[in-house]
């Protein structure tokens, strides 16, 4: 069934967007930074998984784990080196720094891999045919993994002490150190979590779409950012919601209209939406005290 097939496509695309959007939204919630280098960390994870799979010939699970740990550490180091010194600076400087870090990552990887690479398939390719609809093992894995991780993240943020600290920082950063919480530690943990999710997205993406190149992070990064904003930036459930909405819009547009209209419709809808509800679906307007 045609519609069901498209629905499955939307689920898969939305899951990947969601994983990346979660990282964006978490970082923004804590330190109000749009981390433009996020999409490029996604790309780095894909390349690390390539290196591990091709040169060390590791199977899937070690590849995934090592890539995730590596990129999470990388994300944390970037935060320590580049973003921390700018905590008191005007916000725009940090954003420019993030842009710079992103550019640096892209071109650094480009130095080593100017040609697109193919990632070997580490997962069994099983396709199930259910009444005309083809579902592959990969589809199921991606969607399942994404939902599981989102659930775990939700639990962490809402039910643990660390999560409570994160939420506290997003509400009022100055008071939190007075309560005996190490702000630096919490921010680092946030980055590790957020970048780790993007890394998982990177590895799964490279399995699903097999060809990777240094510029793949840019467009996906912007799109994930849009998902986070639609759902309400700073809100975890909002990011997931936004991701599936965006994926749905993109695939539906391509289904009914020539594909060149896709970006146009997506962004016009976004603009209109923001004009009426700038804080996103699940976001709350910040109360400005004068």
């Amino acid at each position: 069934m045609y519609a069901v097939q498209q629905f499955i496509n939307i689920l898969q695309l939305g899951s990947i967007y969601g994983l990346i959007a979660l990282g964006y939204t978490m970082v923004y919630g804590i330190i109000r930074l749009i981390n433009f280098a996020h999409g490029d960390l996604f790309m780095v994870a894909a390349f690390i998984s390539y290196i591990l799979a091709v040169y060390l010939k590791l199977p899937f699970i070690p590849t995934l784990l090592i890539s995730v740990v590596f990129v999470a550490m990388l994300g944390m180091s970037i935060e320590r080196l580049a973003y921390k010194p700018l905590r008191q600076a005007p916000r725009v400087s940090v954003v420019i720094t993030a842009l710079g870090v992103g550019l640096f990552l892209e071109n650094f990887v480009l130095l080593f891999y100017p040609y697109p690479q193919v990632v070997p398939t580490l997962l069994p390719t099983i396709n199930w045919n259910l009444g005309g609809v083809t579902v592959s093992f990969l589809h199921v894995l991606i969607v399942g993994l994404a939902l599981l991780l989102m659930l775990i993240l939700d639990l962490i943020v809402n039910r643990t002490m660390v999560g409570m600290a994160m939420r506290a920082i997003s509400w009022n950063k100055t008071i939190v150190p007075l309560m005996g919480v190490s702000v630096d530690k919490i921010i680092s943990i946030t980055f590790i979590l957020g970048t780790g999710l993007a890394a998982i997205a990177g590895v799964m993406y490279s399995q699903a779409f097999s060809t990777i190149d240094p510029y793949m992070g840019i467009l996906i990064g912007w799109q994930a950012f849009i998902c986070a904003v639609i759902g309400g930036i700073g809100n975890i459930r909002g990011a997931i919601l936004g991701a599936f909405i965006l994926a749905a819009v993109q695939i539906l547009v391509v289904t009914f209209l020539p594909s060149t209209y896709r970006d146009f419709i997506t962004f016009t809808l976004l603009l209109v939406f923001l004009a009426f509800r700038p804080y996103g679906i699940l976001g709350k307007p910040p109360i400005e005290k004068v």
Binding site: Y2, Q5, Q6, N9, Q12, L13, L110, P114, Y115, P116, V118, T125, N127, N129, T134, S136, L138, F209, S210, T211, D213, M216, L219, Q250, I251, V254, T255, P258, S259, T260, R262, D263
Partner: protein, 390 residues
């Protein structure tokens, strides 16, 4: 602080101007030729092949003592510029080659999307430009007058010919009646080819059941492919560049599509097999030459290229080599290192025996009359299947 800034600024500007002024190239008994290639960006393999073939061609001439023009021996000086697969960069480096490096002719770019904008610049600046691989007819046609350009030539066949022969091959040889097409709207080669292909298929009584598009940079084709699957075609025509083909065919197979695949000359790169693996087995595409039916001229070239670069030269390399061959011939005939003379000599060249076959130039046209070959992907290699005459 302000003073330091001023000092810094002034010194920088002065040193800069000295560096730039000092960079004037001296041309004593050298012939400057420009190469505009896609060294970085989306099609680096194309750029690498082009550059390798160019270096080989120039080295062969220089090692033999130089090119004999008008009784004097000249060394060839090659200025290699990268257009980074961006059309504005392509234009910028063309301007640089023409005005700063004072080249007598430019070889490249290869991709049609990269070649069409600079061709206008070459035409207005009256500098000879030969594109080895651009197949879109617009490269040699003046956009304002609709007449062929005087200064732009190419070494390959054009898309009106290719689109037609692809359609004929699909319907007659592969027996397809229901055909789907997917192409990149931002890629001139694909846009032109799809148009001519569709026209011919419909003329021959075939049925185009799907005509899908995507834009350069897209990675996810599930929407378009699901639509194509719904239309149930016998064959899918993908006149796209080699870097998209593996992803598209893989996604198609993941969706359960069993149709045959036919491609254009944009497929002609070993990268496609490397990236596509088993999924591209059994596909067909058009190409400019086939190493396994090589003529003696071609065999010499293949041997030299293999010795220098340990790989078999692809279409782009062969066509670049031929472009340089034609340019050298024209320089010799012209008798002097002059842009206009070289151009006239090339325009008057009746035919040229190259690696990719016999190139014949009709009066007033920059497009050679050539035959094409069809290659099949068999056992992880491109294998010669058939030749198609114009």
């Amino acid at each position: 602080m302000k003073k330091t800034v001023v000092v810094l600024l002034v010194t920088m500007l002065t040193i800069m101007s000295m560096v730039l002024v000092g960079c004037k190239s001296s041309a004593e008994l050298t012939i400057p030729i420009g190469l505009n290639a896609e060294l970085t960006g989306g099609l680096p393999i194309v750029g690498a092949s082009c550059k390798n073939a160019a270096l080989l061609a120039v080295k062969e001439v220089n090692d033999a003592g130089g090119l004999d023009v008008g009784g004097k021996k000249y060394q060839i000086k090659l200025f290699i510029e990268d257009n980074a697969y961006k059309s504005d960069q392509s234009v910028a480096v063309t301007q640089k080659l023409i005005t700063q490096d004072n080249v007598v002719a430019i070889i490249g770019p290869n991709a049609s999307a990269m070649a069409i904008p600079p061709s206008e610049i070459a035409e207005t600046s009256k500098v000879l430009m030969i594109s080895p691989w651009s197949t879109n007819p617009a490269t040699t046609i003046d956009s304002k007058t609709g007449q062929p350009k005087k200064y732009v030539f190419r070494a390959c066949f054009i898309d009106t010919f290719q689109g037609k022969l692809d359609a004929k091959f699909a319907m007659e040889t592969l027996g397809a009646k229901r055909i789907a097409v997917m192409y990149d709207v931002a890629d001139d080669a694909g846009v032109g080819l799809s148009k001519y292909f569709k026209e011919t298929v419909e003329q021959m009584g075939g049925n185009i059941v799907a005509f899908e598009t995507y834009t350069s940079g897209d990675k996810d084709f599930s929407g378009q492919l699901t639509k194509i699957k719904q239309a149930n075609p016998d064959l899918i025509y993908l006149p796209v560049m080699y870097n998209y083909v593996p992803v598209q065919i893989k996604q198609a197979h993941a969706l359960g599509i069993t149709a045959k695949f036919l491609g254009s000359d944009g497929w002609a790169s070993d990268e496609l097999i490397k990236l596509g693996g088993k999924d591209v087995e059994g596909t067909f595409h058009t190409a400019h030459y086939a190493p396994d039916i090589a003529t003696p001229i071609a065999q010499n070239f293949i041997k030299a290229y293999n010795t220098a670069y340990s790989s078999v030269p692809d279409d782009v390399a062969a066509l670049t080599y031929d472009s340089f061959g034609m340019l050298f011939e024209s320089l010799k005939t012209a008798g002097k290192v002059d842009r206009q003379a070289v151009r006239d000599a090339l325009a008057n060249m009746a035919h040229y025996e190259g690696v990719t076959g016999t190139l014949q130039f009709k009066e007033g046209s920059g497009d050679p009359i050539k035959s094409a070959v069809i290659l099949e992907t068999k056992n992880g290699k491109f294998v010669y299947y058939a030749t198609v005459q114009p």
